[in-house]
């Protein structure tokens, strides 16, 4: 391979590596839902609270029979939520225009909180709009239940070893297999309070109803924007909080909320080793410099001491020399004196 060819290939490889694929979790991209996704429009002004949808849901999903039969309307005196054995419930609320009913089930979010927070990908947003759950990988952490802003998923708390998360599937398995053409609840509704269809058509239908009867409806299609949009949407004559639908959820989807925290991960992994390694290297260098300085100081001190000692020695030697000279001188002097004295004695005698 020629050098130029090699460099060319290298460049191409570099560009591919850089442009390859986008890390989707960390980008602010928007997802407007699958184009042909279906959903359901619930019209609270048409709902009479007959609970036929609940009965149909129970039947098509082969759920256990409830303690009180479905034609017992007294159960609606208390506000209920979905459970592991009831994927949908209808609640009765006291509205300004009389009793108002609202059906509750999974809203099949366009960007589902449950799916984005699941750490084993047990939830799938299907192209038909439904959000389904796969029990075969579920660990049972229940983060999906914590994360769901509508409090929908329920859990088999009394199953000791194989509990599942239970929720509405929009009858995805039954429709996919051809067993049903529309969700069980929709087909069972005697008042056409439920419409099953493409989500974008449902939005049009809802707008047309509001336009035709502005005094009958709140001017808002609940679920069109909430939490990034849902495939199950609601029309109401009463304000939405009156029928138990929170208006303070905002329009940001959960994946968007958590993308910031997720985007920090590669930065921490990339920057921490450099920063901490740098701090470590600086401290090591500091220690080394300190050690060298100490060595140098010791060396200098030693040299000084040695020089001092030498000087002292020289001085001592010098002194000893002088002492010796003096001693000799003294001895000579004394010898001379003694000699002189002896001479004197001889002379005197």
């Amino acid at each position: 391979m020629k050098r130029r060819q090699f460099l060319g290939l290298l460049g191409a490889a570099g560009i591919t590596a850089t442009l390859g694929t986008k890390a989707q979790a960390a980008t602010g991209h928007t997802f407007d839902g699958y184009p042909d996704a279906k959903g359901v429009l619930f019209d609270s002004t048409r709902c009479i609270g007959c609970r036929k949808c609940e009965a149909a849901c129970n039947k098509v999903n082969k759920l256990p029979a409830p303690a009180k039969p479905f034609d017992d309307l007294k159960v609606m005196d208390k506000e209920r939520r979905t459970t592991a054995v009831a994927y949908t419930v209808v609640n009765k609320y006291a509205g300004k225009k009389g009793p108002a009913y609202r059906k509750l089930q999974c809203n099949h979010c366009q960007e589902p909180a449950c799916a984005s927070v699941c750490f084993v990908k047990a939830f799938t947003k299907n192209p038909d709009g439904s959000v389904t759950y796969d029990a075969s990988v579920c660990v049972g952490c229940r983060y999906c239940m914590v994360a769901c802003p509508f409090n929908v998923p329920a859990y088999e708390y009394n199953d000791p070893l194989t509990p599942r998360v239970m929720k509405c599937t929009l009858c995805h398995p039954q429709i996919a297999s051809g067993e049903l053409t529309a969700p069980g609840c929709v087909s069972a509704c005697p008042k056409e309070a439920l419409v099953y269809g493409k989500r974008k058509d449902l939005v049009e239908i809802a707008r047309a109803r509001i336009k035709r009867n502005p005094e009958r409806y709140q001017d808002h299609l609940y679920g069109e924007q909430e939490m990034g949009g849902t495939n199950w949407m609601y029309l109401s004559g009463e304000t939405f909080p009156t029928i138990g639908l929170r208006e303070d959820l905002g329009t940001t989807s959960v994946p968007t909320m958590t993308s910031g925290a997720l985007s920090v991960v590669p930065m921490v992994a990339a920057l921490w080793p450099a920063l901490l390694g740098g701090v470590w290297a600086m401290n090591k260098r500091k220690d080394k410099v300190a050690e060298e300085e100490q060595k140098a100081a010791v060396k200098a001190a030693k040299a000084e001491v040695r020089a001092e000692a030498a000087a002292k020695l020289a001085k001592e030697l010098d002194k000893a020399e002088k002492d010796k000279a003096q001693a000799i001188e003294r001895e000579v002097k004394r010898a001379l004196e003694e000699a002189a004295a002896a001479k004197k004695d001889e002379e005197g005698a």
Partner: protein
Amino acid sequence: MTTENNKTLFTPVNIITGIFLAIGLVITVLRFTKGLGGVTNLDDNNPWGIWISFDLLCGVALAAGGYTTSSACYLFGLKKYHSAVRPAILTAFLGYALVVFALHYDVGRPYRLPYPIFVSPGTTSLLYEVGLCVFLYVTVLAIEFTPALFEWLGMKGLRDKVMKLTLALTVFGVILSTLHQSSLGALFVAVPSKIHPLWYSPYLAVLFFVSSIPAGLSMVILEGTLAHKPWHHMMDATYQEEHDGVILGFARGASMSLAAYFCVKLVALAYDNNWSYLATGWGAWYLLEVLGFVALPSLLYAIGSREKNITLIKWTSGLTVLGIILNRFNVSIVAFNYNLPSSQRYFPSWMEIGISIFVVTVGVTAYRLIVSRMPIFFEHPEYKDAH
């Protein structure tokens, strides 16, 4: 106190330990025969209880002493803290091991706990990040702990090989700790509609990470204090000499990091313009947490380290640890589902509390068994000055 052969096993501490362990085993049988519904007060609206709030959130935060102490000693060059590293690593390792142990009770299918990493990784989930980091960090801590084990077993070759990894393991440990300490807070970023605005913040990740630093430092102080009496005879001269220095240094660090945490708390409050909530009942509870368990210990630590008041510092470490526990409970239980009527709110069953006590008892027992035998508070005579 130690279970030495020449003493009786039936000391008061051992008897209490035995009772807690026995109760725990009974509840364990109930949990795995009757399901979560049989032993907990969890329900569809309250899927997470104290096994998450205490065993996971508090457990991980209070085990932060491992990465804070080892990075202070090995990365920031504070070698005078060296004798504090081994006890801190041991506590962290036991803490994380117990977090993983406790999760086996909480998740519905504990035999699938490896799934997020090995079978079906859900990489968009912050819980996946927590799971992966905790899995890796338990491994790191286990390796960091092995030198004490190898010294005890007399396996010099292996011990020396592991010691060479110290720097790499310490850096890796800090990365993993930064990620999962913060992700535990970020778990709750997904639920702005369920947590009271005073505790919800887009900065929850930062808040959890920053608060883990004083939590870890305070646990090292507290643990040293509690261990001092029963294992005094196991502590060598170096440990004893450095002990007060470690306490003073860590108190200064805890004071500063608590002050930083207080500032981040203020930023979070201001960012969402939540000042008006301070005048409500929730506000009073929030102020108690932030002033009484963050600002106050920061101040007390500062006074304690300035006046070299070891007693004050020790009490302050307990206050700080309580504050961290209070914060994690506030985010995950007290302020969670604040908008639901009180009849639908969660309060733990006695069996949930029983399992949490059981888990802590298992940890304390393992700690007692290890420090009475292995070179934790003293340097092994054959390896003196070998680091």
